[in-house]
Amino acid sequence: MEPALAVVTGIVFSAGVYALLQGHLFRMVVGFVLISNSVNLLIFSSGRLSRGQPPLIAESRTVPSGPVANPLSSALILTSIVITFGLIAYLIMLVFRSIRQLNTLTPIPGAEEEDEPEEGGK
């Protein structure tokens, strides 16, 4: 099972990188989502795969009675999903703002005119 999952992780990561390299803002968002999902898969499989063994301990006991799934990897994945969710939400707002301000979905970095920066303040 693990080799198949490893191959899938690699394919999804590559697809994400390909999407990131397109230079188009919406495809960049898709690339982010793919890459973060593949890294979550990586953490998932590093906690060792098992079938039908929930990470629970029976009520009367203090140690698990048989093999259980690794709860630590689930906790790590939860945290990373939340973090990348926040990142992607921010990124989508950034894309909207740049559509409004730059009027383009394919911005070229460094191609700005040398304008005088405005100052704020008293």
Binding site: L87, L91, G110, G120
Partner: protein
């Protein structure tokens, strides 16, 4: 005194909430922000004193015993970084009072600033690899917001490559963390150190080390991963630029130090030459990039990169003198770099532009600013008796002692080229007469509270540079203690695993 470690993380969060709720009243929010900055510096000073007097300390969050719970650890290096970074945070807060407009305040500038400080404190005090990653992410996300907060289109154009590259770096670090967990079963750094030492290096652990090196290297802006920095650091408001310049790359360097002295030492000694040559190229190419620049902040951004090369050079040497010199250099560089960025902001105020060719005559109109610039810039270049001289001296001496002649030679050459850059700024902005094409309406004088807020942080930083330059022994002794702790991880492991204090 364990509460101090908690306070460094919870404190900024509390102030983030306070400034969020006082956002309607600008004056009240300003007062709370400054109070917050001052109290964080006070707490950091207390932490440093306690660590200096009683040695390193660790806390286990929630009283879960190590290595099962989350550990926070303050050794000399962490406490020193906390002190300098919060001092820098105070400077940025005071400077922001003069420049941040109403809409930016309403968008939550000050709360986000405090959350950024919480993130940096968290990274530096973390004793658990995943926790460190989470705090890095807090720093990164708050930096995204600060970078794009503003109305200018070049900010959006610059944020996008910054976001993408930092995201990729985070994904590399997260992959490395996931693989570490799979390979060793634990993420507590002290426990990992023991397990990695026992297991030696293998194909997978080398991969993990390289993933960390590349991921954190992107964040620290080493060669060839630094191209996001000059493209983005010159766009946000000056206070934000200065804060970024002092915090991000240096926190990245901190993580590199922590990982490669604690976890990947011993059997991974072949990594040192890699880091050495990366440092040499970083130093050289960073400063060469600055040679052609005439935009004040872009020039300084290239210098950030070149100075990071010095710091990783100290790490690559892996000797007591090298690491101590690098730690001293980190502290000096944070102070000098940030003050230079603040000075660029004041010169924007006086001349209306960041373009060096269009500036001039600042020495005549504001000799105070010229003196402040002189001290900061030539400290950066390494001129005695300022702080940069001691940092560079220790590093080059350590390099010569380790018989790395080429690298030390490059270090000296880069110092010379840095002096060239600083002289260029001096000539263009301060010494020469103002070119006649510059519109006279752009000129202003320094007066009023706004400019007090701009100058006060610069004065504070310059005073620190002078103190460190004229009396380097205090900082050097702390740096040496920190270096000996870093290079002998046994004490760290024992404090975390042997202690189990609540």
């Amino acid at each position: 005194m364990n509460a101090l470690i908690y306070a460094m993380i919870v404190g900024p969060m509390i102030f983030a909430v306070i400034t969020l709720f006082s956002a309607r009243d600008q004056k009240l929010q300003s007062i709370f922000s400054v109070v917050g900055g001052l109290s964080l510096v006070a707490l950091a000073v207390m932490l440093m004193t306690v660590v200096y007097n009683s040695g390193m300390m660790s806390v286990q969050i929630g009283n879960w015993k190590a290595p099962f719970g989350i550990t926070m650890m303050a050794d000399h290096f962490s406490a020193l970084m906390v002190l300098v970074l919060n001092f820098l945070g105070l400077g940025a807060i005071i400077y922001s009072l003069s420049e941040i407009t109403g809409p930016q305040r309403a968008a939550g500038y000050f709360p986000i600033l405090f959350l950024l400080l919480a993130g940096t404190n968290g990274v530096v005090l973390a004793g658990d690899v995943f926790n460190m990653y989470v705090w890095i992410e807090v720093m990164v996300i708050t930096s995204f917001v600060l970078l794009s907060m503003g109305e200018r289109s070049e900010q959006i154009r610059a944020t996008i490559p910054y976001v993408v590259l930092n995201f990729i770096a985070s994904m590399f670090v997260l992959s490395a963390v996931g693989l570490l967990m799979g390979l060793y079963g634990t993420l507590n750094m002290a426990d990992l150190a023991q397990k990695i030492d026992a297991a030696g290096s293998s194909g997978l652990s080398i991969t993990i080390a390289m993933l960390f090196l590349v991921g954190i290297g992107i964040k620290s802006a080493v060669f060839p991963l630094f191209f996001w920095l000059p493209d983005s650091y010159h766009t946000p408001p000056v206070a934000v630029s200065a804060l970024f310049a002092g915090t991000f790359t240096k926190v990245g360097v901190y993580v590199l130090f922590r990982l490669f002295t604690l976890l990947f030492n011993g059997g991974f000694a072949f990594i040192s030459p890699i880091i050495l040559w990366v440092s040499v190229l970083t130093m050289l190419i960073g400063v060469l990039g600055a040679v052609s620049q005439y935009e004040f902040r872009k020039l300084l951004s290239f210098h950030i990169i070149s100075q990071v090369g010095y710091m990783t050079f100290g790490l690559a040497l892996f000797t007591q003198e090298g690491v101590a010199g690098a730690i001293f250099f980190i502290v000096h560089n944070i102070l000098a770099k940030t003050s230079l960025f603040f000075i660029s902001g004041v010169s924007l105020r006086l001349r209306g532009t960041f373009n060096l060719r269009r500036m001039g005559g600042l020495f005549k109109t504001s000799p105070t600013l010229a003196v402040l610039f002189f001290i900061s810039a030539f400290s950066l270049a390494g001129v005695p008796p300022l702080s940069g001289f001691w940092g560079k001296f220790t590093l080059v001496r350590a390099g010569l002692l380790s018989e790395e002649y080429i690298a030390s030679g490059v270090g000296l050459l880069v110092g010379f080229l840095t002096t060239f850059s600083m002289t260029k700024i001096w000539n263009e902005a301060f010494w020469k007469r103002m070119p006649t094409q510059t519109r006279k309406t752009e000129l202003r004088q320094l007066k009023g509270w706004g400019d007090v807020f701009r100058l006060a942080p610069i004065v504070g930083l310059v005073i620190c540079i002078l103190i460190i330059g004229l009396a380097p022994m205090t900082l050097m002794s702390v740096a040496e203690r920190a270096a000996s702790e870093l290079l002998n991880p046994g004490l760290y492991i024992e404090t975390v695993l042997g202690g189990n204090e609540p």
